[in-house]
């Protein structure tokens, strides 16, 4: 069975806590980014771009059996790592769960501290966009 958002969040936090050093945490993020499969090139169009990110982020979502699935890509590997986390947590969940979740893991792993510009890193834009997709399918 699909794990709940909270369960996945806890796993991510545990994973991050394995690392004492900032450097290892960011390495982990880079690995996640590298491993995230490329999006189908038909979605690499301006229509699928998330606005407000310094790097390009393409995001696409589809619904299957009442769950929402996300696919995304970016030209920045660290951004991809972040997207990978968001997808881990939100992809395959129900629209309501996605809309209502506060994504507390972001603060718990202090993700913001790895992003150099809080206002324009686009993390927020990505979340807003993912929730918007969920609303559209709800």
């Amino acid at each position: 069975m699909q794990k709940s958002i909270t369960e996945i969040e806890n796993e991510i936090v545990e994973d991050f806590n394995l690392f004492d050093e900032r450097e290892d945490k960011i390495d982990y993020l880079i690995d996640l980014g590298k491993k995230l499969p490329h999006i189908n090139s038909k979605y690499m169009l301006d229509d699928f771009l998330v606005k407000g990110c310094q790097s390009k982020v393409w995001l696409h979502a589809y619904e299957k059996d009442g769950k929402i699935f996300f696919e995304a890509d970016s030209d920045s590997v660290i951004t991809k790592g972040i997207i990978a986390l968001l997808i881990k947590v939100l992809s395959g969940q129900s629209p309501t769960d996605i809309i209502n979740n506060n994504l507390e893991f972001i603060n718990r792993i202090e993700l913001q501290s790895f992003l150099t510009s809080k206002r324009s890193n686009g993390l927020n834009s990505m979340i807003v966009k993912m929730k918007a997709y969920a609303s559209a399918f709800a």
Binding site: T116, S117, K118, R119, S120
Partner: protein, 402 residues
């Protein structure tokens, strides 16, 4: 108020001409508490950086502190953050509105109302606008006490009235205007109201929602922050409807020679690298006065005003200019046959700093048929003992010169 507050203001602890400094020029500019001075020092010693588009640690810190200051100001006057525009001071706030609102919305034949006792900064920008647009500047007259004559104001209002711009508190003689009533009457004829809060913010709580003012301007340097920073508050829908003021970095979304799109509030009106240190110092100042409490400040200053008024009147031949019922802690005065210049110089010899002249209110002085006044203006770090010393000095001066 007590010694622990004065201890926060390093500048107060010095001698001038061999006498302890008495600083009674607060309406011109206020002194700064250590909280503000240290905030400035920390900024430059620890995290100075350009902001907003920064991709590194210092830029992040500086952005956060600068935007926190905006939040502090917003909360302080009960506004939203995107309604808070950092400007250089009250003067720039008035000019910004006169230009970005006025040049867009004012047409020939429209009327703009100010009062007879405004600061030049709240007159000249409107004169310039009226000249350009062939609009008319109308002036609310005042009575001999230095209060606006409300019935005359009502007579000036008409559907031609597009802007009313008035100080909350007069810098020259301390009158507190009934701005809430001024605003609601202006709104009845569809005019927008700019409140010049330069002298109000240091002394009292200003709530833009409660006043329902459309714009409010004030200066950081008068409210215990550093120089070169100030605030223009505007209702979001008005700010959005206005033209941009200056063009440049920060205020744009994208630039190309084919066409440029402007940024959202509050960045729309903040072209170029902001006065980051100034914003942060203003945030620190706002936090500082809130820690003391504006109620406490206001009631202590009322006490100083009442005490000072009584004491100053003991000086032979002294008359107080400006005797509004509702008054801030400013005592403007003249002494029979003695030139204000001589009083200024001789008080300075005693280490006492007051201001003499027209206080940037020449039309008020013309109305009062005087060239200027001596002005002692009090802040919460002043004391009754300082008033006593000043009155004694004045008595000696009067004796010496008559």
């Amino acid at each position: 108020m007590n010694d622990s507050i004065r201890a926060q203001f390093p500048i107060l602890h010095q001698s001038v001409n061999g006498k302890p400094l008495i600083y009674f020029d607060n309406a011109a500019t206020s002194q700064k508490p250590l909280a503000v001075i240290n905030a400035i020092k920390d900024y430059y010693e620890q995290y100075n950086s350009n902001i907003h588009r920064g991709a590194h640690h210092l830029a992040q810190l500086a952005t956060e502190k600068y935007e926190n200051a905006r939040t502090a100001v917003a909360q302080h006057i009960n506004a939203s953050e995107h309604e808070i525009n950092f400007v250089r001071g009250t003067t720039e706030a008035v000019n910004l509105v006169a230009t970005s609102y006025g040049r867009k919305f004012i047409k020939a034949g429209d009327e703009i109302i100010v009062s007879e006792m405004e600061h030049h900064s709240n007159i000249v920008p409107w004169q310039m606008l009226c000249e350009e647009k062939r609009a008319t500047l109308r002036v609310i007259p005042i009575n001999d006490a230095g209060e606006i004559i409300f019935e005359e104001y009502l007579k000036l209002l008409s559907e031609k009235t597009k802007i009313v711009s008035i100080a909350y508190i007069s810098n020259a003689i301390g009158s507190i205007h009934p701005v809430k009533e001024v605003i609601s009457e202006a709104h009845k004829v569809g005019a927008v109201v700019f409140i010049d809060g330069a002298q109000a913010l240091p002394h009292k709580k200003v709530d833009v929602k409660d006043l329902d003012c459309d714009f409010l301007g004030f200066s950081g340097h008068k409210v215990f922050a550093g120089t070169g920073i100030g605030i223009l508050y505007g209702k979001a829908e008005l700010l959005e409807a206005m033209n941009p003021y200056m063009g440049g970095g920060e205020m744009i979304k994208s630039v190309s020679f084919a066409g440029t799109t402007y940024n959202d509030l509050p960045f729309k009106f903040e072209a170029g690298t902001p006065h980051i240190e100034g914003g942060i110092s203003l945030g620190a100042a706002i936090n500082y006065i809130n820690e003391i409490g504006l109620d406490k400040i206001a009631s202590y200053e009322d006490e100083l005003l009442a005490y000072g008024t009584e004491k100053f009147l003991e000086v032979e031949g002294l008359r107080i200019v400006g005797t509004a019922k509702n008054k801030a802690s400013v005592i403007s005065f003249l002494v029979n046959n003695i030139h204000m210049n001589d009083i200024g110089i001789l008080l300075n010899e005693q280490g006492i700093a007051i201001r003499i002249g027209h206080h940037c209110c020449q039309p008020l002085m013309d109305r009062l048929k005087i060239e200027g006044t001596c002005r002692a203006s009090f802040a919460f770090y002043n004391t009754k003992e300082e008033i006593d010393a000043t009155v004694n000095a004045l008595k000696r001066i009067v004796k010496r010169l008559s």
